[in-house]
Symmetry: C2
Subunit: 150 residues, 2 copies
């Protein structure tokens, strides 16, 4: 969860960061239900203007696509219930927004995330850093009037 400045250089404050871990020992509905409950809780606590997710590209892994879809479905239910619009950005758009060019390395993106949030270290784990990059990417495009709904 980040709060972005409306103008000027891309600056934002990190309000909340969380990774929901599930175990393959849990039943599917419990894993998905827990993702929904945590997402809804954070949305209710912070009432953000937008929720941004990573646009997914799957090549051969249908089974993975299907199961990642379950988790996104749970997050979409939470967004709908709390009334938060959902946006999605792909890796190229993240690189473009944060590093200024589509061929930026993971390190360049991480550096820009740290810099925009005024942090000394890249927030971990890497899933959280990725989520923050997506959030900042949305802030970047929203300020340009070019937000990209899912």
């Amino acid at each position: 969860m980040v709060e972005a400045e409306e103008k000027g250089a891309l600056k934002a404050r990190l309000l909340h960061g969380e990774v929901v871990r599930t175990s393959h020992k849990e039943k599917a509905e419990a894993r998905v239900g827990r993702i929904h409950a945590r997402a809804k809780e954070a949305l209710l606590a912070f009432r953000p203007e937008a929720l941004a997710v990573e646009e997914q590209f799957f090549y051969r892994q249908n089974e993975l696509a299907y199961k990642v879809g379950w988790a996104l479905g749970a997050v979409l239910v939470a967004a709908f219930e709390v009334g938060v619009p959902v946006y999605a950005y792909g890796p190229m758009q993240v690189k473009q927004a944060l590093a200024g060019h589509g061929h930026a390395s993971k390190e360049e993106v991480a550096l820009m995330v740290r810099s925009a949030l005024g942090l000394k270290e890249t927030p971990g784990p890497s899933h959280l850093a990725d989520a923050l990059a997506i959030a900042l990417t949305h802030a970047f495009y929203a300020r340009l009037g070019a937000a990209k709904p899912l």
Copy 2:
């Protein structure tokens, strides 16, 4: 929603059948949110012992797998919230359970659905008939102590 006899030939009563239709003009979160809300409402109204879904197989269609996954995620959230365990069966298991052999035609399966539910016509649309076949398949395996959790 069906209520199955616990013993004897597979017989069940149709309590409720519903197809949730969404439009591609709706936002993704509204479509998924509505699927969740309708599923939860039906689960709360009938408090079933189990929710059975179709096991999905995707070959080349990753994009489809991902989006069908969103809808299943919404249903899993509802099942988790209401405390209903989820089971899944593939097409072969449906044919085996309802027609007694894995090479049954769609017509044979439809005939068995009508017969088990004591109906004169196959309930439409076809998505509803498919859902009822899955529900009856779960009843069949559950009676054998062979229910298949998702």
